[in-house]
Amino acid sequence: MSILVGKNTKVICQGITGNQATFHIKRSLDYGTKVVGGITPGKGGEMHLGLPVFNTVREAVDATKANASVMFVPAPYVKGAMKEAVEAELDLVVCIADGVPIQDMLEIKAMLNGSKTKLIGPNTPGIITPGEARLGIFPENIHCPGKIGIISRSSTMTYEAVIETNRVNLGQSTVIGLGDDMIIGMDFIEAIERFQRDVDTSAIIMLGRLGGTFEEDAARYYKNLPVKKPIIGFVAGDAVPFGHKMGYAGDIITRGRISAQDKKDAMADAGIIVVNNINHIHRELEKLFNCCETSCKL
């Protein structure tokens, strides 16, 4: 078991013929991900990486019965590609691009509202269920199947947390990069909700960072859960000074400035185990689980 993606997830790739898509889809196929086709407008009918290429998401879904998409289209085209994915009623879209304009994201959020499609990203390494499916750009060789769920608001910190779980042989159930941007699809709460229900996930690692109130919102949600799986949390940004700014509007929205420490306090208050150094996560995992059990081998 795992959340959101697994060996039965049928994946299409939007923008499959591009360089980065080619490099990463090939790796995902080698990893065993069930990629069943791709979309590049104008190249419908061709084959790429041994997979059929379609002109539209709708055509691809009709032909392959795919239920998820990993999107490698450049930022200016993300809005249009998302519209297609939502209209084709995909369950899940993983958007890798960074630099999507903010107003485009506002429109994308409006599209997603009330649809059945869940978005991970943008600006994310994606989602991986080790040994089953890789949707994105994760360095798959550092992952191994196991029982820790990882949710992160920073691409590269995600890898750091994966390595921490490996240090104590616990492995990962599913790893989700929520995306580094300020407007993102899925947030901590939705991911925690799913990990809570997943029988194979025994504990969760949550990696936050300065900016927004995602961590505080998640802490409030977690605090009120009747049954809680343990969460180990980290927030980056303690040492970041508040730099030059323009105007006051940002402060009004965030009611003054929220520091990394404020976030950590809210998380600790909710019962989350907070570490101050990301490389200390394995120590907390060791305390939670018997150090000698082995559920994962690289």
Binding site: P101, P139, S154, T156, Y159, Y248, G250
Partner: protein, 400 residues
């Protein structure tokens, strides 16, 4: 990207928002000429054009600039020349610029407008909702910065639609909240819809008018203006991109931006190269906890071009404040071997004069480590982030 007040006002004027008559001046004589052109007689307002708020309560570093701040009310023509001479070329420090301040290269000369009342108006994206949000507040005797922190209930927040005009009901709500007379209703509608349209059409991320003035006939006038734009959307706004004032930006930041990397400078002595904002913060946190500060941090994001990466690394290597370099790369999209190649290319061009610790993880890390080992450069390779930080600190302390 930010622009100057006078540029922001010009944009807003196109959307039907009333602004004072004014003109830009680069020299004292120009200032005097502009003053005569905008108003037959005083008072005038001289406004330093640096990209910062709180210019009025700011101060100049140079004694020759006098004691007054960056926004000055002037009654006589003679004083225009005198004050323009003081301000131009001097360095203005405000609570938003940091202690170094910013040099004033041009001033905006405006006709003074007598107003009955002022208020604050801001249009931003509340990213947590997420939605376009209008903020207004009366600012009779208090600064908006005070109100924001101490009396947030005195700020009205209204969610606006992305595509539709502001609803008449919302206009009425703003009118009542600000205790404006019904005579201002029409002007308020034009004003709010102007802000909204300017925001949407130009991919702004913030428009702030602090303050808006109410003239004796009830109509509104933008006495100040700030606009910030979404860097990621500039590709569809060539006209806005042209307004960028390179003088306002740090030279190294500009260089990094050219390669689509992000670069920031701080007060410490360690240079960091990472791929990811979160990782940049985590590295800073670790160094900070060990008593060391970061001088500059370069985020090469998902860079895939070896030459660009080398150019980015050079920005860090040539920063004179850097006494040691920590490179922490977790390859996914980015392949570690490209960073290794980039390090060697940069070092062979500008030399490697400070300790350098590298930590690679992820895509192609073994290949990358091999490349560095064969280079014969004095590079320390670490396996974990904390180990890398410790190794660098030791090397920097030894080289002192």
């Amino acid at each position: 990207m930010n622009i100057h007040e006078y540029q922001a006002k010009k944009i807003l004027h196109k959307y039907g928002i009333t602004i004072p008559k004014g003109g830009i001046a680069y020299t004292p004589n120009e200032a005097k000429r502009v003053a005569s052109a905008v108003s037959f007689r005083g008072p005038w307002v001289l406004k330093a054009q640096i990209q910062s708020g709180a210019r009025k309560s700011g101060y100049f570093l140079e004694a020759k600039a006098g004691r007054k701040g960056g926004v000055r009310m002037i009654k006589s023509r003679r004083d225009i020349i005198k004050n323009a001479e003081q301000m131009l070329g001097s360095t203005l420090v405000t609570m938003q610029t940091g202690p170094k301040g910013k040099q004033v290269g041009r001033i905006y000369v405006e006709a003074f407008n007598k107003v009955k009342k002022v208020f604050y108006a801001g249009l931003v994206i509340d990213r947590m909702l997420p939605a376009l949000t209008l903020l207004v507040a009366e600012t009779v005797d208090k600064d908006i910065s005070d109100i924001a922190i101490n009396e947030p209930e005195k700020i009205l927040k209204i969610k606006l639609s992305l595509h539709e005009n502001v609803a008449p009901k919302q206009i009425q709500q703003i009118l009542e909240f600000l205790k404006l007379s019904p005579r201002s209703a029409k002007s308020l509608e034009t004003f709010v819809n102007g802000l909204h349209q300017a925001f949407i059409e130009n991919d702004a991320t913030m428009i702030e008018i602090n303050p808006v003035g109410v003239l004796s006939n009830g109509s509104l006038i933008a006495l100040d203006a700030k606009i910030s734009f979404d860097d990621n959307a500039l590709y569809r706004h060539k006209d806005i991109k042209m307004l960028q004032d390179d003088y306002e930006e740090n030279e190294r930041e500009l260089q990094a931006a050219k390669y689509r990397f992000s670069y920031s400078e701080f007060e410490g002595n360690i240079g960091c190269i990472v791929n990811g904002d979160g990782l940049a913060m985590a590295v800073m946190d670790i160094l900070h906890a060990k008593g060391f500060g970061v001088a500059c941090s370069l985020n090469v994001k998902g860079g895939v071009d070896k030459d660009k990466i080398a150019s980015g690394i050079k920005i860090i290597m040539t920063n004179p404040k850097v006494e040691g370099i920590l490179i922490n790369i977790l390859g996914g999209f980015l392949r570690c071997n490209l960073i290794a190649d980039g390090i060697i290319a940069a070092a062979s061009e500008v030399g490697l004069n400070v300790p350098l610790v590298v930590r690679f993880e992820g895509t192609n890390k073994d290949e990358a480590k091999e490349i560095l080992k064969h280079s014969k450069l004095p590079i320390i390779i670490a396996d974990e982030m904390e180990e890398a930080a410790d190794a660098l600190i030791k090397a920097v302390e030894e080289s002192d």
